[in-house]
C-alpha cells in the first residue's frame, strides 16, 4: 500500500471542447449549463516521497503551459454545482496512468517500485441544477460501473479540499495454491459445477462458469478415474477453456441429424473450400485456410494478404468501450500471429445494436437492478473502442457497417477484422509456415498478467445472465501492442529469431501454449516465471487469464540472447516461461509442484462427440396491407432516413482511414459524401494492386428463409467488390455466424440451412471460405421494467466479409455519378422480393418472400461487369443493397450531387413501390459516359437496362406515371438526418 499520495489536477485555461461536450450531454436530456473537465493524476509511492519542487516539475511534464494550468495537492476551484470524479476500479488497465508513470521515471531517472503507480481519473465539474436522480444518471453516462469508480460531491461537500485521494490499489488476500477438485459427485452437482464453476475453498463462492456440459464432465471424470487421481483446478479450468464452444466450435463440429454426420463445418464450409480449390487447380488463390490465426490468399508474387474477422459480443455488452477495443486489438494479434507474423494493414468493423433512439430498459436482476446499458451508450462505447484501437495502432479502418434491430438490445454484436500483409519468404524461410520444436523456449511477450478477462472463453459460450462474471471485462493497451507488433513484424521476424508464434486470446496461456505444443508434441511451463500485474493470483488464474497484448513465441535456445536483447531495446517485456517438449504432455509447474500434467491427446481430442438434432419450421408472416401511394416522394425520403440506410459518416471520420498511405476508394465517396459498401486500399507501396474489402449481412431475412439469407450475404459481399472492378477469381470470403439459443433444435435448423446455403452459393461463385468464426449464444435473459422475465435473442446473423485483389487500382470505379449527361443503367432484374426488406419494415410488416439468388447468372454478370470496368467503360458503379433500387439510385445521385431523370421498367405485375424498394439480389446501378454506350452495352448484354440520364438538380423517377420528383439536396438532407447530432 502506498504511503505517499499526491494529486495533480490539470485543466485547460479555455477548454476548446467545452461547447461540444456540453451540447452532447444536453442532447442526452440533461439540462446542464456547462460541463468542465479536469485531468487528475494520483501519484502513489511507498519507498520514497516527492518534494513539492519535484511534484511541480513533474506536473510541468504533464501539461502544456501555453493552454493548461495545474494544481499540486490543491483542489481546482472553478464555478460549479457538482463535481463527479471518474477513475478506474482496482486492476483495470490505466493507459494514461502508465504513460504518466513512464514520463516521471524518465524525467527523474528513477523507477517506480512494485505497488507504486500513477492513477489517472477525470474530474467533471457540472454547472446547473440537477435533481438527484438526474445527477446519478449523468454519472452513469460518464462511467461504467464495471470498470469505473465514481465519486460525486456537491459544491458544499467539495469545499476547499476538493475530492478525496483514493488509490485504486489491487488488494488480494488469498494464499493462492492449486487444489484438487472432486468429480465423484452426482450429476446435479456436476452440472452445477459446469454452469457455475469450481467452489472456491477459501471464499466459499463459485469461481464462474466452466461451460462444460454433463457429457464433457463425465469424460473428464472417467479420464481421471483411469489415472487414479483427482484433477487439479488448473487442469479442470484448462480443459474447460480448450473444450469451450469458443475454442472448439463444438456446434459446427458435431454430427447433425442423419444427413450431416461430419458436422456443419466439415460438410459445408471446409468442403466448399476444398472443392473450389481443387477445381481451380493452378489458379487456386488460397495459401492458408482455417488452420492458422488468419486465412491467407495470394496478393502477388511477393506478398500474401491475410484476413480474419472476430466477434467480441459478450465483453462489449458489459463494457462497450473496453470490449470493442480489445476486440480490434485482439484481431490485430491474429494477424501478427499468422505464419511467422503478418503486418496488420487494414482494420474493419461491424456493429449490430438496438435502436439508439428507442430503448426499452432491460435488467439483469429482478426489481430493476443491474441494468443493461442502453443501445445509445453501447453504440457510443463500441464506436469509440474500435476507433481508439485502430487509430493508436496506426492501422487504417476504412471498412465497416452499423446495423440496427431492437433484438440486439440485450446483446450487441461487435465484429472486428484485420487484413495483414506478409512476404511469401524471408531469408529462405516460408513465412506462412511455422513449427515449434522440442527444446525451443516458450517466451511470453507484451503485457503482464492480471485477473482481466478470466473465463472470457467459457463466458462467451454462455448466454448473458445475472451471474455473468465481472472479470470478463478487459481494457486494451494499444501502445504496448504497437511496440511489440513493430519489433516482431518489422525486426525479429526477418532476423529469424523465433520459430513459431501465436497470440494470447481466449483462454490466455492455457490455449496459446497448448496449441503451439501440438507443433512439437509437448510443453513444460513454469507458472512462477509469468510476470504478473500484482501478487495474489492463483495458478489457475495465471494460466487462463486473458490479459491483453500478449504473444507466445517459440525461440530457439541459440537465438534467445539476441531475441531478449532486441525486446529490451524496444522496451517490450519478454519472459521465458518454459520449454517446448516432445513428451506428448502438457505439464505446468507452480511453486515447485506440478499443477497440471495432461496428455495433449486428451486435452485436444478427448472431447466427447455430440449428436445434434434440428428441426425447421416455416412460419407464415402477415403481408403488409397498405396500398401503394400515388406518389413516392415522401416514401423515398423516409427510406433515406432509415437507420440501416442513412449515413453513419460520423463514425467513419473518427476512424483514421488514410494511415499507411494506401487510400484508393474510401468509406465515403463523391462530392455528396455517401457511404460506400466496399473500399479499396493499397497495401504494398509502389504496387499497382490494391485490396478490396466488403461485408454484407441480412439478419432480417434469417427467420423467414435462412438458406437464402446466406445467399444474400454472399452475393452482396461479392457484388461490392465487383462494383469497384475486383475480378471474382481473386476473391475469398469469411463467415461469422452469430447465432442465438443454439441448444434449441429450431435454431439449429436455421443454422443448418444457412450453412448449406454457404456451401451451395460459394461453390457456384467459386469463391472459397478462408477463415470463419462463430458465436452461438447471443441471448439475454433477464427482466423488463415491470420485473417480468424476458429473453432477448439476436436474430440469427451471418456476416460475410469478402476480400479480393484489384489488379490495377487506377482503373477502379467509385460509386458517385460524375458528369451530367451520363447514361444511367440498372444491371440485373427486379422481382417482387420484399420479405424482410427495409420497405416492409417501414410498413411495419415482415412478409414471406426474401430474395432468391441465381448464383450462376450472377457470376456471369459479375465477370462481364468487372471486364467492362477493366476496359474503363464505366464511370460509376454501385450495388443495390438494403432499400432496393430507388435507394441505390438516390445514393448514386446524392454522392455525385447530380440529378437524374429516369424511366423505370415497372411491369404490370408489380406495384411501383414494391418495384422500387424490392431487395432482389445481383443488381448494380451504373453510370456510363455517352461515348461508351455501345461498347458498354455490348460488354454487358441484355442484362443492362438503360433508365435515363444524369443532370440537373432533381431526382425524377417515372413508370407509367411520374412516381417521384425530389431535389437531390433534399435527398442528401434526409440521408444525413438521423445521425446528424451523434
Amino acid at each position: 500500500m502506498a504511503s505517499f499520495v499526491h494529486r495533480i489536477e490539470v485543466h485547460y485555461t479555455k477548454d476548446p471542447r467545452l461547447k461540444t461536450r456540453t451540447d452532447r450531454i444536453r442532447s442526452l436530456g440533461f439540462p446542464i449549463d456547462e460541463l468542465h473537465l479536469t485531468d487528475v493524476y494520483m501519484v502513489a509511492t511507498s519507498a520514497r516521497d516527492f518534494t513539492r519542487d519535484e511534484l511541480v516539475q513533474v506536473a510541468q511534464q504533464l501539461v502544456n503551459p501555453v493552454v493548461q494550468e495545474f494544481t499540486v495537492d490543491e483542489a481546482t476551484l472553478p464555478l460549479f454545482d457538482y463535481a463527479i470524479e471518474v477513475g478506474f476500479l482496482p486492476g483495470v488497465t490505466d493507459n494514461v496512468g502508465t504513460t504518466a508513470r513512464q514520463t516521471i521515471e524518465d524525467f527523474l531517472a528513477m523507477k517506480f517500485a512494485e505497488g507504486e503507480a500513477v492513477y489517472s481519473s477525470q474530474l467533471y465539474f457540472v454547472r446547473g441544477r440537477l435533481a438527484p436522480e438526474a445527477l446519478r444518471a449523468l454519472a452513469g453516462t460518464l462511467a461504467n460501473p464495471l470498470v469505473n469508480r465514481v465519486r460525486t460531491k456537491t459544491r458544499e461537500e467539495y469545499g476547499h479540499t476538493g475530492m478525496d485521494r483514493i488509490v485504486p490499489h489491487v488488494e488480494l488476500h488469498e494464499l493462492p495454491t492449486a487444489g484438487p477438485v472432486d468429480l465423484g459427485i452426482d450429476d446435479a452437482e456436476l452440472m452445477k459445477l459446469g454452469k457455475e464453476g469450481i467452489l472456491d475453498p477459501q471464499t466459499g463462492e463459485r469461481r464462474g462458469p466452466l461451460a462444460l456440459d454433463l457429457a464433457q464432465l463425465h469424460a473428464i471424470r472417467d479420464y481421471f478415474l483411469k489415472l487414479g487421481r483427482k484433477p487439479t483446478d488448473v487442469e479442470l479450468e484448462s480443459l474447460a477453456q480448450t473444450w469451450s464452444e469458443h475454442c472448439k466450435h463444438t456446434i459446427f463440429a458435431s454430427a447433425m441429424d442423419d444427413d450431416v454426420p461430419k458436422g456443419l463445418y466439415k460438410t459445408y464450409i471446409q468442403a466448399a473450400t476444398n472443392e473450389i480449390r481443387e477445381a481451380a487447380g493452378d489458379r487456386d488463390i488460397c495459401v492458408s485456410v482455417f488452420s492458422d490465426n488468419s486465412g491467407a490468399i495470394i496478393f502477388d508474387d511477393q506478398f500474401l494478404v491475410t484476413h480474419k474477422v472476430e466477434t467480441h459480443n459478450s465483453p462489449s455488452a458489459l463494457d462497450p468501450f473496453g470490449g470493442a477495443l480489445t476486440g480490434i486489438v485482439g484481431v490485430n494479434r491474429d494477424t501478427i500471429g499468422f505464419g511467422l507474423g503478418a503486418k496488420p494493414c487494414i482494420n474493419i468493423y461491424g456493429f449490430c445494436v438496438g435502436d439508439p433512439d428507442a430503448a426499452a430498459p432491460l435488467f439483469r436482476g429482478k426489481d430493476m437492478s443491474n441494468p443493461v446499458l442502453p443501445p445509445r451508450q453501447i453504440l457510443d462505447g463500441v464506436v469509440r473502442g474500435v476507433g481508439v484501437g485502430g487509430n493508436c495502432s496506426g492501422i487504417p479502418t476504412p471498412q465497416g457497417f452499423c446495423y440496427f434491430d431492437p433484438r440486439y438490445a440485450g446483446k450487441p454484436l461487435v465484429f472486428a477484422g484485420t487484413v495483414g500483409v506478409i512476404p511469401w519468404e524471408s531469408g529462405g524461410r516460408k513465412l506462412s509456415e511455422k513449427a515449434a520444436q522440442a527444446g525451443d523456449l516458450i517466451v511470453m511477450v507484451g503485457g503482464r498478467v492480471g485477473k482481466d478477462g478470466i473465463h472470457g472463453a467459457t463466458f462467451s459460450s454462455e448466454a448473458l445472465d445475472p451471474k455473468s462474471p465481472v472479470t470478463a471485462v478487459q481494457i486494451g493497451d494499444p501502445i504496448t501492442q504497437k511496440k511489440f507488433s513493430d519489433v516482431i513484424v518489422k525486426e525479429a521476424r526477418d532476423a529469424g529469431l523465433y520459430r513459431s508464434i501465436t497470440d494470447n486470446g481466449a483462454g490466455g496461456l492455457s490455449c496459446s501454449v497448448a496449441e503451439m505444443a501440438k507443433e512439437c508434441n509437448g510443453c513444460h511451463v513454469q507458472l512462477d516465471c509469468v510476470p504478473l500485474k500484482y501478487h495474489g493470483m492463483a495458478p489457475w488464474e495465471v494460466w487462463i487469464s486473458e490479459s491483453q497484448e500478449r504473444m507466445t513465441l517459440a525461440v530457439q535456445p541459440e537465438n534467445l540472447a539476441a531475441f531478449m536483447a532486441l525486446m529490451e531495446r524496444r522496451e517490450v517485456e519478454a519472459t521465458v516461461i518454459g520449454t517446448f517438449t516432445d513428451t506428448g504432455r502438457c505439464v505446468v509447474e507452480c511453486g515447485g509442484a506440478v499443477v497440471m500434467d495432461l496428455e495433449l491427446a486428451f486435452l485436444h481430442d478427448g472431447l466427447p462427440k455430440k449428436q445434434l438434432k434440428t428441426i425447421f419450421l416455416k412460419k407464415a408472416n402477415p403481408e403488409p396491407d397498405t396500398p401503394c401511394p400515388e406518389r413516392l416522394d415522401d416514401t423515398l425520403l423516409a427510406m433515406m432516413k432509415r437507420k440501416n440506410i442513412c449515413s453513419k459518416e460520423y463514425i467513419t471520420i473518427q476512424y483514421d482511414h488514410t494511415v499507411q498511405g494506401g487510400h484508393v476508394l474510401g468509406p465515403v465517396q463523391g462530392k455528396g459524401r455517401v457511404q460506400s459498401v466496399a473500399t479499396l486500399t493499397k497495401i504494398v507501396p509502389g504496387s499497382k494492386k490494391a485490396v478490396g474489402l466488403s461485408q454484407a449481412l441480412f439478419p432480417s431475412y434469417s427467420e423467414i428463409d435462412p438458406y437464402n439469407m446466406a445467399g444474400a450475404g454472399i452475393d452482396t459481399a461479392l457484388r461490392g467488390l465487383v462494383a469497384m472492378g475486383v475480378p471474382l477469381d481473386t476473391v475469398a470470403i469469411l463467415d461469422n455466424f452469430c447465432w442465438c439459443s443454439s441448444d434449441e433444435p429450431e435454431r439449429l435448423g436455421q443454422l443448418k440451412l444457412a450453412a448449406k446455403g454457404c456451401y451451395d452459393f460459394s461453390k457456384t461463385f467459386g469463391t472459397p471460405f478462408i477463415s470463419g468464426k462463430d458465436s452461438m449464444f447471443n441471448d439475454f435473459s433477464g427482466f423488463d421494467a415491470e420485473g417480468e422475465k424476458v429473453k432477448v435473442s439476436v436474430p440469427p446473423t451471418l456476416l460475410i466479409s469478402s476480400i479480393g485483389v484489384h489488379p490495377d487500382a487506377g482503373k477502379a470505379v467509385s460509386m458517385d455519378a460524375k458528369i451530367a449527361g451520363d447514361l444511367v443503367y440498372v444491371i440485373g432484374g427486379t422481382k417482387e422480393e420484399l420479405g424482410g426488406s427495409e420497405y416492409f419494415a417501414l410498413l411495419g410488416s415482415t412478409g414471406n418472400t426474401v430474395p432468391v439468388l441465381d448464383a450462376a447468372a450472377a457470376k456471369e454478370r459479375y465477370v462481364r461487369l468487372a471486364n467492362a470496368i477493366a476496359h474503363e467503360l464505366v464511370a460509376s458503379a454501385f450495388p443495390v443493397n438494403h432499400g432496393g433500387l430507388a435507394v441505390a439510385l438516390a445514393k448514386v445521385a446524392v454522392a455525385g450531387r447530380l440529378g437524374m431523370d429516369l424511366t423505370v421498367p415497372v411491369p404490370d405485375s408489380i406495384r411501383p413501390d414494391y418495384f422500387l424498394f424490392s431487395e432482389s439480389l445481383s443488381r448494380f446501378v451504373v453510370t456510363v459516359a455517352p461515348d461508351h454506350k455501345r461498347a458498354f452495352e455490348q460488354a454487358l448484354g441484355p442484362d443492362a437496362v438503360l433508365l435515363g440520364r444524369t443532370g440537373g438538380s432533381r431526382f425524377r423517377l417515372t413508370a407509367q406515371t411520374l412516381l417521384l420528383d425530389v431535389a437531390v439536396r433534399d435527398l442528401e438532407t434526409a440521408y444525413k438526418a438521423s445521425f446528424g447530432r451523434f
Partner: protein, 275 residues
C-alpha cells in the same frame, strides 16, 4: 518492404525518420522521401538514446505521424519529454547546423511541445499548443491547404490536398505569439475551402478550430516545418479523395492524368534545398 519506384537521382544527404512508442507513419514518410530522391533511415528513438545511431549523420530529421504514447498526457507531449530528457544536447547541435526538421501530425505536436516551432530564439520555449479539436474527437478527412508564405518548404506549391487525421490539431497561442508568427511570415499553410478562399474557421474546411486556419508553421529561422495534414498519405493520384471524378473529367476533356499527386512537391522542395 519493397521500395518505391526508383527516383532518377539521389542526393547524398540522408533523412532520419524517428520511430517507436506508437509513431506509425514512418513507412509512408520513408516512401515519400525516397520517391522525391532522398534516402532515409527509420530509427527507433531508443537506438539514438543508446548511441547506436547519431543525428549528426543526417541532414533532415523527421518526426512522422502517429499516436505516440496513445496521446496520453496530451498529444506529442510524452514523446517530446522522452526526447528532451534524453536527446536534448544532440538535438540542439543538430538545430544549430544547416539542417532541416519536419514534423507531420503527431510529429508537429512533438515539435510544438519541444519548442522547435515557433523557436523565436534558442531557448526553445513552448509558445504554441495543439489542443483537442473543437469537435472533441478525431477527424479523418481530406482538406485543402493554401501556402501562406513562400519559403523553402512551400516553393512552387499552389495547393495541397491531403488527409488530416488527428484528435488534437487545434492550434492556439497568445496574441503576442500570433503577432510575431505573422510578422515573421512563419505560417506555412492555412486551411481553405475547395475554391481556395479562406476557411475562416468554418468546419469542416478548418477541421479542428485552429486559430487563423493555421495548418502548418515554420520556425523563425525557417528550417523547421510542422504541419497537421499528411501530404505523405496522398503521394499518388489515386490516393486523392476525388481522383475518380478528376479522372473522368480529364478523359472527357482529353487531358492526360497526372502521374503523381500535387502533394509530392513538398518533398521535392526538401530535396531541392539540399541539391
Amino acid at each position: 518492404m519493397p521500395t518505391a519506384p526508383a527516383a532518377p537521382e539521389r542526393i547524398p544527404e540522408k533523412a532520419l525518420i524517428m520511430s517507436g512508442y506508437g509513431i506509425n507513419s514512418e513507412m509512408e514518410t520513408h516512401v515519400a522521401l525516397t520517391r522525391a530522391g532522398m534516402d532515409a533511415d527509420i530509427v527507433h528513438i531508443n537506438d539514438l538514446i543508446a548511441g547506436d545511431r547519431s543525428m549528426a549523420d543526417y541532414r533532415l530529421l523527421v518526426f512522422p505521424g502517429g499516436f505516440s504514447y496513445g496521446d496520453d498526457t496530451g498529444a506529442g507531449n510524452a514523446y517530446a519529454n522522452r526526447v528532451r530528457n534524453n536527446l536534448w544536447d544532440e538535438l540542439q547541435e543538430f538545430m544549430d547546423g544547416d539542417n532541416l526538421v519536419l514534423g507531420i501530425c503527431n510529429g508537429f505536436q512533438i515539435l510544438a511541445n519541444l519548442g522547435l516551432v515557433p523557436a523565436f530564439d534558442r531557448t526553445y520555449a513552448r509558445e504554441i499548443a495543439l489542443m483537442p479539436n473543437r469537435g472533441g474527437r478525431l477527424e479523418c478527412r481530406f482538406v485543402t491547404l493554401k501556402p501562406a508564405n513562400e519559403n523553402l518548404w512551400t516553393r512552387g506549391i499552389k495547393r495541397i490536398y491531403c488527409p488530416v487525421s488527428h484528435g488534437e490539431g487545434n492550434l492556439s497561442c497568445s496574441k503576442e505569439t500570433l503577432q510575431k508568427i505573422r510578422q515573421k511570415k512563419m505560417v506555412a499553410f492555412t486551411y481553405c475551402r475547395e475554391d481556395m478562399n479562406p476557411a475562416d474557421g468554418e468546419y469542416p474546411y478548418n477541421p479542428n478550430g485552429s486559430v487563423e486556419d493555421i495548418a502548418g508553421l515554420t520556425s523563425a529561422n525557417g528550417r523547421v516545418l510542422g504541419m497537421m495534414p499528411h501530404p505523405e498519405r496522398a503521394m499518388e493520384f489515386t490516393n486523392l479523395y476525388d481522383w475518380p471524378l478528376m479522372k473522368e473529367q480529364a478523359r472527357r476533356e482529353g487531358r492526360a492524368l497526372p502521374a503523381e499527386s500535387l502533394n509530392m512537391q513538398l518533398f521535392r522542395n526538401i530535396v531541392a534545398y539540399f541539391s
